[in-house]
Symmetry: C2
Subunit: 139 residues, 2 copies
DNA sequence: CAGCATCCATGACGATACTG
DNA sequence: CAGTATCGTCATGGATGCTG
């Protein structure tokens, strides 16, 4: 457990010599982060929680493509990473709310950089794809 | 074709009401981008090419955990998205070089924001994980 | 309401072998 | 050298049913 899509094979990415620090060391600390961002739901949840705390079923209703399995699973990951806080409010129908922690807010900020870039450049990417596909077909 | 891990099910994520624009519209233009960033190799390749053009086998050697299947596949995606340029240099042993296009450089910039954040906050995330796991075990 | 456990389909990926 | 093609594996994630 605790290992998901990590590198298990002997492979051991050894990239150490690009312009920056030691990002992507063999055990790849940042890799985790990219996996988080890359997965289907984390970012959605993060952005939703950016607007304030929400309860489990509120999140489920807002996203609605998500299964409760993936929701609880993703929330647990986010909680484990210290990005969101889980608070149980006892009551007759019990309720649990999730809120963004400072760490999660920071990540959300970084994520928005990405989505901003995507928003402004997606059209150009789409054009490139269209051109590429046209070439393909011609061949 | 052209749809990979997209939402096919009736689900249709309808998140439209968070603080920003219309990121994550039902067909999710930015989703593609996050998938690119999330996959195992794109970011590595992008960062490597950030240091200048490289040939196929140079990339393969530098990353080395990668299979040539994934390398060529990822490169083709990046090329299709207009992020990298593929140039064939005829010769006895043929050689093909890949270089970052402006669009790819822009994405690389956004990615670095993420990796920067990761580098500075990974320790805190690791602590949070350790705490969480300790709790788990206690229960 | 807020989950966990289980089963099952899909597809991502690695290994291997072959081509221009 | 720079790939393509095929195959097997294993993880990801959806659907369903049950619990406190």
């Amino acid at each position: 457990m605790a290992q998901e899509g990590t590198f298990s094979t002997p492979g051991t990415v050894q990239v150490t010599d690009f312009s920056r620090g030691d990002v992507f060391a063999r055990n790849c600390p940042t890799r985790q982060l990219l996996d988080r961002v890359g997965d289907k739901w984390s970012v959605l949840i993060l952005m939703l929680l950016g607007g304030g705390g929400l309860r489990f079923n509120e999140l489920k209703r807002r996203i609605d493509g998500i299964s409760q399995k993936m929701l609880s699973q993703t929330l647990r990951s986010l909680e484990r990473d210290g990005l969101v806080e889980r608070e149980v409010h006892p009551g007759k129908p019990i309720s649990v709310s999730y809120t963004l922690l400072p760490l999660g807010a920071g990540l959300l900020g970084a994520v928005r950089m990405m989505t901003d870039w995507a928003e402004t450049n997606m059209a150009e990417v789409a054009q490139a794809q269209a051109r590429y596909d046209a070439m393909e077909e011609a061949a």
